[in-house]
């Protein structure tokens, strides 16, 4: 249940994060001003970062714990494949899944990939350990706009970002609708709209975030 609550909180964060980043389309001043404003918040920013880290940490800790207990519940694993234990296979060939979506079967895998991506993403855009550090413009503002555009001109960076957005989409697709079910919201008439909301959120995030590298490629920004 806490996994569902922290998951929903994280979805709110990535949505807000995306909306902030989409200001790149509004031009250099807009994005740079937004970034400067965030940085000027001082203690509030650090409070928010700390809170986010707690929520993220809790989500990761609880899901790993859950996966471990679920593995134990499965009993003996007899399948030969070395991946069998990890993927949850316990029948001699393979369980023939009828309805389970790929996104739902590999949640822990997509989740761990997102964890790696977040570390990479922070090292890249927040701590500037990857790529060149951003320039400071004449009026003393960090040129975030330039940093983003320059980074995404590198095909390795932009392709890896798009791939991770797809993984994020898969995770959110099952995660969101699953969270509504876990919280007991998906009953009767609310079932279909809430399942759809999961898909819509996933598409919105993947397409919204991927639009930035695509726009850089097409020379729109």
């Amino acid at each position: 249940m806490l996994i569902a609550v922290t998951g929903i909180a994280l979805i709110f964060f990535v949505l807000a994060h995306m909306m902030g980043n989409l200001q790149v389309f509004a031009g250099r001043e807009s994005l740079n001003a937004y970034a400067a404003k965030l940085k000027s918040l001082g203690p509030v920013l650090w409070g928010a970062r700390f809170g986010l880290l707690c929520v993220f940490g809790l989500h990761v800790y609880l899901t790993i714990k859950l996966t471990r207990s679920n593995h134990q519940a499965r009993g003996s694993v007899v399948a030969d494949s070395p991946l069998a234990g990890f993927l949850g296979e316990r029948y001699s060939n393979q369980y023939r899944y009828k309805t389970a979506t790929t996104s739902s079967r590999f949640m822990i895998l997509s989740g761990l990939l997102i964890l790696l991506f977040v570390i990479y993403h922070l090292a890249h855009f927040t701590f500037h350990q990857i790529g060149d550090p951003p320039n400071i413009t004449a009026d003393g503002v960090t040129d975030v706009y330039e940093m983003v555009v320059q980074s995404f001109r590198n095909p390795l960076i932009s392709v890896s970002y798009i791939c991770f957005q797809i993984v994020l989409g898969l995770h959110v697709y099952h995660g969101a609708s699953s969270a509504f079910q876990t919280l007991g919201l998906k009953t009767g008439s609310s079932r279909k709209p809430l399942s759809f909301l999961g898909l819509a959120l996933a598409l919105l995030l993947t397409c919204g975030n991927s639009s930035i590298p695509f726009a850089v490629w097409m020379g729109l920004i």
């Binding site: 007899v78 316990r90 001699s92 060939n93 009828k98 007991g184 079932r191």
Partner: protein
């Protein structure tokens, strides 16, 4: 008439290691049920002086929930029925893999027979309505809205076979528990004990070593009685209600 290669799980006892064993059965009619095919195989094993394969079965008409085999990687085989109602004509190919339900909470007793008493203990924890003894109440004394009666009946159709646990990669018993909780939650008789029921049944489910639900819906696809995962939504709602307070 078809001949089959049967690959079946053999295990002498719970604490003994198990293994897959290969057998050949010949001249099997398409109209035989799956269990009749196993009867033929067991007969030939007995004639040859070997130990027959142990498997659970009782009514053989799809209502008792005793039969329990994972056939070619599907709980109760390829059809939406119980194993006893599965016919040989539904089986694709001539190699058949037969395994028991696999879950830590369902230890193998022998071959393909598993111990499902953990389900009984979950029901004992709250899957009932307390009634003070006396005469049977008048059939229509409690008026129930038609839709509620239908929904409750759909949930009550669960036969407790355990296919949901066998199909779930987490070996979760949520569909089973939710069917019972949802059945009683839709009826006035279940109202007074609803909080204790959901809390205690979920506690027992966890204690028995079943996994957690990650909402991927394979239980629903394996269920011979088509119990819907909507019940799990109802179970979760009942659980939240019991924990967060309101009295109804």
């Amino acid at each position: 008439m078809t001949d089959y290669n049967i690959h079946v799980w053999r295990q002498a006892a719970t604490d003994k290691p198990g293994y897959m064993e290969r057998h050949r059965v010949t001249e099997i009619s398409d109209d035989m049920s799956f269990l009749e095919m196993l009867d033929v195989l067991n007969e030939s094993l007995q004639v040859a002086g070997k130990e027959p394969i142990a498997f659970d079965h009782d009514c053989r008409e799809g209502i008792c929930g005793a039969c329990s085999l994972v056939i070619n990687g599907q709980a109760h085989g390829p059809e939406t029925t119980t194993t006893c109602q599965l016919h040989m004509r539904s089986i694709q190919g001539t190699d058949i893999y037969i395994e028991p339900w696999r879950a830590a909470a369902f230890p193998v007793l022998k071959d393909c027979v598993v111990d499902r008493r953990s389900f009984d203990r979950i029901i004992q924890a709250g899957g009932f309505v307390s009634v003070n003894t006396g005469n049977a109440p008048d059939a229509n004394a409690n008026a129930i809205v038609k839709e509620d009666a239908e929904t409750a009946f759909d949930s009550a159709a669960c036969i407790g076979c355990g296919a949901c646990v066998a199909a779930c990669k987490n070996a979760s018993a949520m569909l089973f528990v939710s069917a019972k909780v949802s059945h009683l939650a839709h009826l006035p008789q279940g109202n007074s004990e609803r909080k204790e029921r959901v809390t205690s049944m979920i506690e027992t489910m966890d204690e028995e070593g079943f996994g957690s639900c990650t909402n991927y819906g394979e239980c629903e696809a394996a269920c011979p009685k088509s119990i819907s995962t909507e019940n799990i939504g109802v179970l979760n709602r009942e659980f939240v209600r019991a924990k967060v307070g309101s009295t109804t």
